[in-house]
């Protein structure tokens, strides 16, 4: 009754609490959530590309040491394990740094950011798997390195 009166007299739309909640979630908040999701996806891709490049550069820097290990008879698994280890350490360190920074700064944002533990866990999983995949470029380069590179000056 009151709602119809307001609609007819003041030309406003009237919603119930439930309708308003669903309107916000389906409309404006959904859009913001999608934009945040897009940013998060882009940042994850950029971060993984940076990690891949770093692993590749670190591997190239150590290519003579890798050739030496291969010449000494180290198995491919030893080489792969060394690169995976540095990739995992790099991924864990960058995630820990990012997580700490987010938790230190989130209260200073104009809008409240709710960080659910399961979302953090999923992000960690994506980064962890992505970090390992990012090291593939370095691993392929290392495995293709001929042991003969260790000889000569």
């Amino acid at each position: 009754m009151t709602a119809r009166h307001i609609e007819e007299w003041l030309y406003f739309s009237v919603y119930t609490t439930g309708e308003e909640r669903s309107l916000m979630l389906e409309g404006r908040l959904k859009k913001m959530s999608a934009i945040l999701g897009l940013f998060r996806t882009l940042l994850v891709i950029v971060s993984l590309v940076i990690i891949a490049l770093l692993i590749y550069v670190i591997t190239v820097e150590k290519i003579k040491a890798i050739a030496t290990l291969k010449l000494m008879g180290a198995s491919n698994w030893v080489i792969v394990r060394l690169i995976l280890e540095q990739s995992v350490v790099l991924t864990l360190a960058s995630f820990a740094l990012g997580w700490t920074m987010v938790n230190l700064t989130k209260d200073h944002f104009p809008r409240t950011l709710v960080l659910l533990p399961e979302e953090t866990l999923i992000t960690f999983g994506v980064f962890f798997v992505g970090g390992i995949l990012a090291s593939l470029v370095g691993i392929v380069h290392a495995l293709r390195t001929p042991p003969s590179l260790a000889l000569g000056g």
């Binding site: 030496t68 291969k70 000494m72 008879g73 260790a150 000889l151 000056g153």
Partner: protein, 227 residues
């Protein structure tokens, strides 16, 4: 020890860059041999080392170690990489030490990739450093060692798994004459005391005095010069 007979090495499809003809040589325990090169580069010494070290497949011939045939016109199904880490020690022109590992860990690494537990590897590495009179430098990083010390650590790494064969690729190239002579003396001592066959490649003729056998690579052929 290693015995090579009539092997030929090819680069690419058809071009033979080194043809070792009529060579049938057996190296015994404690024997030292030097391949002295007429030309410092391009003469095929790296190819020769790569074949002896079971990295490059010869196009023909036979290679045997400890009475076991490794190559007889084809690999004989042996795990070449495992055989290499168990039976061959390498000394490089540049010491090729891992820069972020100290002297002890550089030596221990060679044993660890051969399956030795960490504490055993480090303990044996300490013994080797003492043998090489470098015990006091065990915790030093390669950057903090002199050229001669670095090369002695590299020799320790080559000895880590007590291989019967040690290959040295111009081990004195980055050293001055005095230090180079000491390294070559050490190689001869190792061959004698540890019963290993040492094959060294050098183009510095001043360094080969006292070696049992001297070879030259001339026009792609390995020629025995003197005994």
């Amino acid at each position: 020890m290693p015995c090579a007979r009539h092997p030929r090495w090819r680069w690419g499809a058809e071009v033979s860059i080194l043809h070792v003809e009529g060579l049938s040589k057996t190296f015994g325990h404690g024997e030292t041999a030097v391949t002295a090169l007429r030309d410092p580069s391009g003469s095929g010494k790296s190819t020769l080392l790569l074949c002896i070290s079971l990295i490059l497949e010869p196009s023909a011939g036979r290679i045997a170690m400890n009475g076991r045939t490794i190559y007889d016109n084809a690999w004989t199904g042996i795990d070449v990489r495992r055989y290499r880490r168990e039976h061959i020690g390498f000394i490089f022109q540049g010491h090729n030490l891992i820069p972020f590992l100290n002297a002890r860990d550089n030596i221990a690494l060679a044993m660890e990739i051969n399956g030795a537990p960490g504490h055993v590897a480090r303990s044996h590495a300490n013994e080797l450093l003492d043998y090489l009179e470098l015990g006091h430098r065990a915790a030093s990083l390669p950057a903090n060692l002199s050229g001669g010390e670095q090369q002695r650590v590299a020799i320790g790494r080559a000895l880590a798994n007590s291989p019967p064969l040690i290959l040295a690729d111009e081990p004195t190239a980055s050293l001055d004459t005095a230090r180079g002579a000491k390294v070559m003396e050490l190689l001869k001592r190792i061959a004698r005391e540890r019963q290993a066959a040492v094959i060294a490649v050098t183009h510095d003729l001043r360094m080969i005095e006292g070696f049992d056998t001297i070879w030259r690579i001339e026009d792609g052929r390995l020629v025995k010069r003197q005994t």
